[in-house]
Symmetry: C2
């Protein structure tokens, strides 16, 4: 068995975000589920884009944001995901490679365009996402290369991969490879409605195959179909791995069997757009774990990375997170 | 002669910006002229993009930003400019129309791609721009439609149009139409190096054809080849129209013959990216003029709009400026 050469390898939907400020009335008028990620087809994406306000474009994708965050923190990271060889696909690939992320998945040269997520940011900084998966549907087990997966100390997977059918097979293949090579497997539950769609499979996954689990409050309540956070905590305590539960302004709770850490959220001058908050928390946490830092410190790095990304529009860091880490937590790569 | 139906019609290079934070060492290493707008060809644009950090994409273009600002302030506005019918071109057109801007210039369906401006934002919030003009070179006098130009109470032109040869002819044609219909003609000098390239023609323009002139300190010094601001002011006082001179943190000075107003800059919590500061100042000023407000108030609206745009990455407002106008200056559309 060889030593890993990367801190984290991530697999996820490769998406370019289109972000626009909007009013709650717009969400209501267009029947959008506030705060959720909803899948839409090409025609709906066109119609919604026509109705959407002026926006900015920014590379996105949940696991992709996390991987970008790890690279920005100074970690070494790779990404597997499918774009089309079009303008948005080139933007996505550029933004990954510009951070030093190893991204070698060949783009598709036919079929659907690169995935887009229309993100409506309301005045409360909440984000409502409408995703056209496009080329992400072309990710198959053939895109999972054993040596690429084995290269990562941690394999990070997004629950959203359960939506495109062949991506799920790719996910399972990667997980098997990772464990066969003695690597850790990390998963984010992604979205409460995504949990709703795939609850039984997700439960089986977290009980038997996942070493590090990320979920926010709604997601973990949905997974266990319980009403309050304490009931969810009782379930989580029985999981074999580490679970990091994010609670927005209330910070996060990290559970590893009998070990529990409650960590405050980092102060933010003004919360502008919460897109990517969970993704960047995962980035900080996984970076900390890959450096062998204590769970409490991992959670603090997660909070720091999340605080940066919610201070501006877009789900990717706008300053090198390694600098914040050095300044605020005196941690140097 | 018919009454105008729009406050302002603008003509400019139709550009999508790619913005990335970078260090001064990057500018030095790649031989970039800090703070300036430099024209580059397709090959150089590819090479620089490869070297550039992860970025965000945002519709840009100097006059286009101004027109977007006027629409955001609650004014009625139109834009003439050339994109290609590609992904970035569709983004540009969407972002204009989403603000209610009348944008009817047909995109080119062959030839160069939609223009891109690579913008390197240094830690001092200064922006350094490298522009690939692409489809902008396809703007010709045929794109200037008499009734579209006559529809605007004010015609707004960017000095950058002097770079693509046929756009200059389009500019002259539009100016003639505007004056023939009794409209006002406004011009921004755009960039000190642009003034350098076209000084004699710009001088002739501002002396004989321009009713409202915008320039920053470097641009006006370059136009008159003088060393200090007071010497420039003496020249400007002799111009037949109104001149608004922007001075970054020192605010602006408005000159109309013997009438002079010195207006402070608006306070900004943190200057993040100065891209678009001058464009948005012009937006506020022109909006004020189109509403018949006093010059001093026009300058204050300009300062308010500029302050919004320098508080975040990207040259387009992220909140409706009409709301800021109502809140901060108690001016309602």
């Amino acid at each position: 068995m060889t030593e890993p050469t990367l801190d984290v390898i991530g697999i996820g939907n490769a998406i370019v975000d289109v972000l626009s400020n909007s009013e709650d009335a717009f969400l209501v008028g267009h029947g959008l589920q506030k705060g959720a990620m909803t899948l839409i087809d090409a025609a709906r994406a066109e119609a919604l884009y026509d109705a959407m306000g002026a926006g900015i474009e920014c590379s996105g994708g949940s696991a992709a944001n996390t991987i970008a965050g790890i690279a920005s923190l100074g970690g070494t990271a790779g990404f597997v995901g499918k774009v089309r060889d079009d303008a948005l696909g080139r933007i996505f690939a550029h933004d990954m490679r510009a951070l030093g992320v190893r991204f070698a998945t060949p783009p598709s040269d036919a079929g659907a365009a690169t995935a887009r997520c229309l993100i409506f940011v309301t005045p409360d900084a909440q984000r409502t996402m409408q995703t056209y998966l496009g080329a992400c549907l072309e990710l198959t087990p053939d895109d999972i290369v054993e040596e690429e997966i084995a290269a990562g100390h941690i394999l990070y997977l997004e629950g959203y991969l359960w939506d495109p059918p062949r991506a799920k097979e790719a996910f399972r293949k990667a997980m098997k490879i990772a464990h066969a090579h003695g690597r850790l497997v990390a998963l984010t539950l992604s979205d409460a409605f995504c949990v709703e769609r795939h609850r039984e499979e997700f439960r089986e996954l977290v009980e038997n195959h996942v070493d590090i689990l990320f979920a926010n409050e709604q997601e973990i309540l949905s997974l266990y179909q319980v009403r309050d956070f304490d009931a969810a905590l009782q379930q989580v305590r029985q999981l074999p791995g580490v679970t990091a539960l994010t609670r927005s302004a209330k910070g996060s709770v990290v559970v590893s069997g009998e070990e529990i850490h409650i960590v405050d959220a980092d102060p933010v001058a003004r919360v502008v757009d919460t897109t990517g908050a969970g993704d960047l928390y995962a980035a900080g946490f996984l970076y900390g774990m890959s450096q062998g830092l204590p769970l409490r410190t991992c959670a603090r790095i997660g909070g720091l990375a999340a605080a940066e990304v919610i201070g501006h529009v877009g789900a990717r860091p706008q300053v090198p997170l390694a600098r914040l880490l050095a300044e605020k937590l005196a941690i140097r790569a």
